[in-house]
């Protein structure tokens, strides 16, 4: 599987990382180096092997379904690049 510039651009878009047009060939080449390395995995017979979901077998704990936190609006917003009137502020989302 080889990645061309169009695929590289598509991946950058999916990852929401702006990549300039002129940087795409190098990015595609790097992807291909890494993918070539990864493709060694195709040598392994994985027939009938379950994909690992949890490295230590354990049941996830459940907690009581009750409110145990909250009323921290100031603390939640204190690190926001832009907050107004108790909300996170972002550029216009809807036309």
């Amino acid at each position: 599987m080889s990645i061309d510039q169009n695929t590289a651009a598509k991946v950058a878009k999916l990852a929401r990382i702006k990549v300039e047009e002129e940087a795409l060939p190098e990015l595609a080449a790097e992807f291909n180096t890494i993918l070539e390395f990864i493709e060694q995995l195709n040598e392994v017979d994985v027939e009938g092997v379950e994909p690992m979901t949890s490295v230590t077998p354990q049941r996830l704990k459940r907690r009581q379904d009750v409110v145990n936190d909250g009323n921290q609006q100031d603390k939640v917003l204190v690190n926001a690049p832009d907050s107004r009137e108790g909300f996170f502020a972002v550029p216009k989302v809807v036309e």
């Binding site: 990382i17 990864i38 704990k61 907690r63 690190n79 690049p81």
Partner: protein
């Protein structure tokens, strides 16, 4: 007492108990050493006021008696741990200015035990790197040099600042985190001890997430005994991390008897890599002989899927990273890129992430995005998770056959010069983790300890891998090996 910063945790603890020194004196010695060591770029956010305040509180607590083992001992905290009121930015530009309103469970436990935080330590950006060269703070520099050659060397990564600080006696010990070798590889490069415990032993809450199924915190120290003391303080169940294990934490230090008679030590044939330096092979066989001389039984073993650990890791870790790092979007915390008139929210995301992430982080996020994308999920991600199951099975098979611990080299080479790998392709850097990454994939405990010097005078480390949840037994085997190697070398102070 002089040179208090050069003490280890156990020695300093005992000196405090005997009233030979105070936490304030220990802390001042470390703060003095830190201020003289800016050339190492290990401490990137210094917190002397917090340190002296906690030291005074620790001294008061010690006077009352019954203080925990870590009480009054000055340590450094890797920048990946969120620390309340103190900048915590995972060495990334995208978190410039981020000051958490909360404290990670591990650093809170250390504080509750009375440990004194000296400041935050350099690392690779989001813990992605093996040389501490991807940090927004610039490179951390190893205190070690090749003889009289003044080429700056890497302290390893990603916990490079932690390793440099401990090796240079800027602190008594430090926290690290390990996703593919980020505690053990820098420990090996700097002649220090580092243990990655079993997955789930330490809470991940408040530790900036890289690859959640692999990340574990652990101590980086000057001796195996110190590692036992600090690991105990860092460990334990945390309701805020659903993957943290609800298991009792043993007194690891009490398990250090040095008696390993009858223990079965496995030597995996797959770890004899083509092109591995003869010095590493020699170190490994010497370590094997030492364990045998200490009464252990040496057994040749096979871990047949070893070769596929790194490729599996470089699917799974980027996949998890692409998901974890989606939160850095310029909305809730950190930096937002300057926008132009007419830019909407998508441009804001794309520009913020392009400006805030470094090249290696971008590369891994995009590789992760690719392997998770429609049409490739099965071919890459699910296949890698299947291979991961096989890698874990390899270990389960040898443990079922009675193996107590596995001895391997910690790294395929000694530390290299900063910048020496910059022209290599990304995969060449990834290969540095070849001996450590299997342990993360299988969720096992692994410890690196110094075992000798190479011909250029640089430290080389060995790794011991243990059974899940048996860190105490693993530490004891490491303790026996430490006594046999008698490693005491320290870097000459040039900084």
């Amino acid at each position: 007492m002089s040179d208090l910063n050069k003490l280890g945790l156990a020695e300093a603890r005992d000196a405090l108990r005997k009233g030979e020194t105070s936490s304030v004196e220990l802390t001042q010695a470390c703060l003095g050493a830190i201020d003289k060591a800016d050339a190492l770029n290990a401490f990137v956010h210094k917190t002397p006021e917090i340190a002296l305040e906690r030291a005074a509180a620790a001294d008061a607590r010690l006077k009352q008696g019954e203080a925990p083992a870590m009480c009054g001992l000055p340590v450094g905290i890797k920048d990946l741990f969120c620390t309340k009121g103190v900048a915590s930015q995972a060495a990334s530009k995208i978190l410039d200015g981020f000051v958490p309103e909360y404290e990670s469970t591990v650093s809170q436990q250390l504080a509750d035990n009375g440990a004194v935080m000296l400041g935050k330590l350099n690392m690779d950006e989001f813990a992605m790197g093996s040389s501490n060269e991807t940090s927004t703070y610039g490179n951390a520099v190893s205190p070690w040099r090749r003889g009289n050659d003044d080429t700056p060397l890497t302290p390893g990564g990603s916990s490079g600042g932690s390793a440099a600080a401990v090796a240079a006696d800027l602190c008594l010990a430090a926290t690290g985190t390990d996703t593919g070798g980020s505690i053990r590889q820098p420990a090996a490069f700097t002649g220090t001890v580092g243990i990655k415990p079993t997955y789930g032993r330490c809470s991940r809450w408040g530790v900036v997430a890289f690859a959640s199924s692999l990340d574990q915190a652990g101590p980086m120290t000057k001796s195996v005994r110190d590692a036992a003391i600090m690991l105990e303080a860092m460990s334990g169940h945390d309701p805020k991390d659903s993957t943290s294990a609800d298991l009792a934490v043993p007194n690891f230090e009490a398990m250090l008897t040095g008696d390993i008679r009858g223990k079965k030590i496995g030597i995996p044939k797959e770890y004899h890599m083509d092109g591995m330096p003869a010095e590493i092979e020699k170190l490994w066989s010497e370590g094997t002989a030492m364990l045998k001389a200490a009464g252990a039984e040496i057994v040749d073993i096979s871990l047949p899927h070893t070769k596929y650990a790194l490729p599996a890791y470089y699917v799974i870790a980027p996949a998890e990273a692409s998901s974890n790092l989606a939160r850095y979007d310029g909305v809730r915390y950190g930096n937002r890129a300057l926008l132009e008139a007419g830019d909407g929210i998508t441009e804001m995301y794309e520009k913020t992430r392009a400006a805030g992430f470094g090249d290696e982080v971008k590369r891994r996020v995009m590789v992760g995005t690719y392997v998770l994308s429609a049409g490739f999920y099965d071919a890459y991600y699910n296949r890698a998770r299947r291979v991961r199951s096989l890698i874990k099975q390899d270990f389960e098979n040898v443990f079922a056959a009675g193996i107590d611990a596995i001895l391997t080299p910690a790294t395929p080479s000694a530390a290299f010069g900063l910048g020496e790998m910059s022209d290599a392709d990304p995969v060449a850097m990834y290969l540095l983790d070849v001996f450590t990454v299997t342990v993360n994939l299988a969720g096992l405990p692994g410890i690196a300890l110094p075992a000798g010097l190479d011909s250029q005078g640089l430290p080389l480390g060995l790794q011991l891998i243990g059974r899940p949840w048996e860190e105490g037994d693993l530490l004891n085997t490491a303790y026996a090996l430490e006594q046999s190697t008698g490693f005491v070398a320290k870097p000459g102070e040039w900084w």
